[in-house]
């Protein structure tokens, strides 16, 4: 896989990969990504990004939403870097 941050277009629509499930786990106080016989516990920001990856919203929408929710600017680089990593690890699929 050669997905790097530069391959993630602002208009791409990331979604949790087929066969995986993302859910909030109160016992772990974290978003957890579940897949066949394994799981990944996400940190706070990864959870916030990934829970917005619904295959409908674009990367630009997600950035805008996070910037307004957390009243911060310039999140685009970090968000795209995480999405690229998640695509590379097959946690997310990007739909054009």
């Amino acid at each position: 896989m050669s997905d790097t941050a530069s391959d993630i277009a602002p208009g791409a629509r990331p979604a949790v990969a087929h066969g995986m499930r993302l859910q909030w786990e109160p016992a772990q106080e974290a978003h957890v990504l579940l897949y066949p016989e394994g799981m990944v516990k996400l940190n706070g920001s990864a959870g916030q990004i990934m829970s917005r990856c619904d295959g409908v919203r674009t990367v630009a929408d997600i950035v805008a939403d996070l910037e307004s929710t957390y009243k911060q600017k310039g999140l685009s680089g970090d968000v795209i870097a995480f999405i690229a990593l998640a695509v590379q690890r097959r946690w997310l699929e990007v739909r054009p």
Partner: protein, 410 residues
């Protein structure tokens, strides 16, 4: 079946800040039983020589009822259990499997069915999908005979092929598990070709782990080092040919390692297994460990079992460890290895897993490998493609026998 290799495989995302103590400020800083395995039944149409089920399984009590299993799910989920394995035996032998899956899904479990595929019909897979089953792992179980069937005729291939088609038609990833041992490891190339023909996306080539029935058959099943290296080379060439189309995990038998596996990430750390009769165990094979007072879900709730029972606290932390583990810097990584292996090989579950070359008992592992080499070199060895190899004990309720531990103290 053999235990899944990725049991309780928990990773934190890179840079993830560790959450605080998971369950507040009580004395236990014990995390939740994230991985719950329900061995719904010991009934099984197959008779695998490497089955890890206890060899005296025919003497265990009656299976839990549907209502009992659903109560177990509710209690475990309340503690934070989230990955659910449904296995056995053959879990499809339970006609309430769909009901159990439905209850688990409603509670928020991610549900893995570990099956031989025997009994997986179109109506059942439809019902399981509707109930919310997340994933099916199709196992090649009775490899000695089954692999022969595959290599010599098309009967088994047709059955697996049909099941694989059903799995794909219902939009599940095709995950195939094949247990390797001396009698089939030379066929890894054919096994991978078969996996490709079945449309597998993930293939786990899991070398047998030596518990239960596999322990009885260890001298016949342990491969030689040359076989192992050849199989790894074949797997590597296959990987290079298929690229990312198929992900292949090759699980090396730990007898060939010099450091032990971090079995269950430490007993009582993330994994909770429930046997068909409701016995709760910190690992699939723990029933064999002496002095472990295994609680039963019919008498004790899951919270008390996980946090308070002797069985689940017995191997937490490192106070139980002996040297060389206790003062070893690697104890935080491998937790001393596998307790069952320590017990089976040395007669004392508190010893270091003798797979570790720092263990004073490591010679026992070397000896077992050497014995396998000699047995494989013996001219009388049956060719792998023939029917049953001499000396193998097939898992069968009629020959359900207790394992006798040989005292092997130095």
């Amino acid at each position: 079946m053999n235990p899944p290799a990725h049991v309780g495989h928990v990773l934190d995302a890179p840079g993830a800040a560790r959450a605080g103590p998971p369950l507040g400020k009580t004395a236990h800083r014990i995390g939740p039983p994230l991985w719950l395995l329900l061995e719904l039944t010991y009934r099984c149409p197959l008779h695998c020589v490497f089955c890890y089920n206890p060899t005296d399984f025919a003497n265990t009590g009656p299976e839990l009822t549907t209502a009992d299993w659903i109560r177990v799910l509710r209690e475990a989920r309340a503690l934070g259990a989230v990955q659910l394995g449904l296995s056995g035996g053959e879990p499809l032998a339970r006609d309430d499997l769909e009901e159990i899956v439905g209850a688990a899904r409603a509670l928020g479990f991610y549900i893995n069915l570990i099956t031989s595929g025997v009994g997986l019909t179109e109506p059942r897979i439809k019902a399981l999908k509707a109930a919310g089953l997340d994933h099916i792992q199709l196992s090649f179980q009775d490899s000695t005979r089954e692999m022969n069937d595959f290599l010599s005729s098309t009967r088994t291939f047709e059955l697996k092929s049909k099941v694989a088609q059903l799995i794909r038609a219902h939009d599940y990833p095709m995950v195939l598990n094949v247990v390797l041992h001396r009698l089939n490891i030379d066929h890894v190339g054919e096994i991978l070709a078969m996996a490709e023909a079945l449309g597998a996306q993930y293939v786990e080539l899991a070398n047998t782990q030596y518990y239960g029935w596999a322990w009885l058959n260890r001298d016949q099943l342990l491969p030689t080092r040359a076989q192992l290296q050849q199989a790894e080379a074949v797997t590597q060439r296959f990987r290079e040919r298929v690229g990312t189309a198929m992900q292949i995990y090759f699980v090396v038998p730990d007898y060939f390692e010099t450091r032990p596996k971090a079995c269950m990430s430490g007993l009582g750390s993330v994994f909770l297994a429930i046997a068909p009769d409701g016995t709760a165990m910190p690992c699939h094979a723990a029933r064999m460990l002496p002095g472990l007072e295994l609680p039963n879900v019919q008498a004790t709730d899951i919270g008390a079992i996980w946090y308070d029972s002797q069985a689940f606290n017995r191997f937490r932390g490192d106070a139980w460890m002996k040297e060389p583990c206790r003062s070893c810097p690697e104890k935080v990584k491998d937790f001393g290895g596998c307790r069952c292996q320590a017990y089976l090989l040395t007669g004392d579950a508190d010893n270091a897993d003798p797979v570790c070359d720092l263990s004073p008992h490591h010679g026992l592992v070397i000896e077992a490998v050497a014995r396998a080499e000699r047995a494989a070199a013996a001219p009388v060895a049956a060719p792998p493609r023939s029917v049953r190899a001499p000396g193998l004990t097939f898992r069968d309720h009629r020959v359900s026998i207790p394992v006798v531990i040989e005292e092997k103290r130095p």
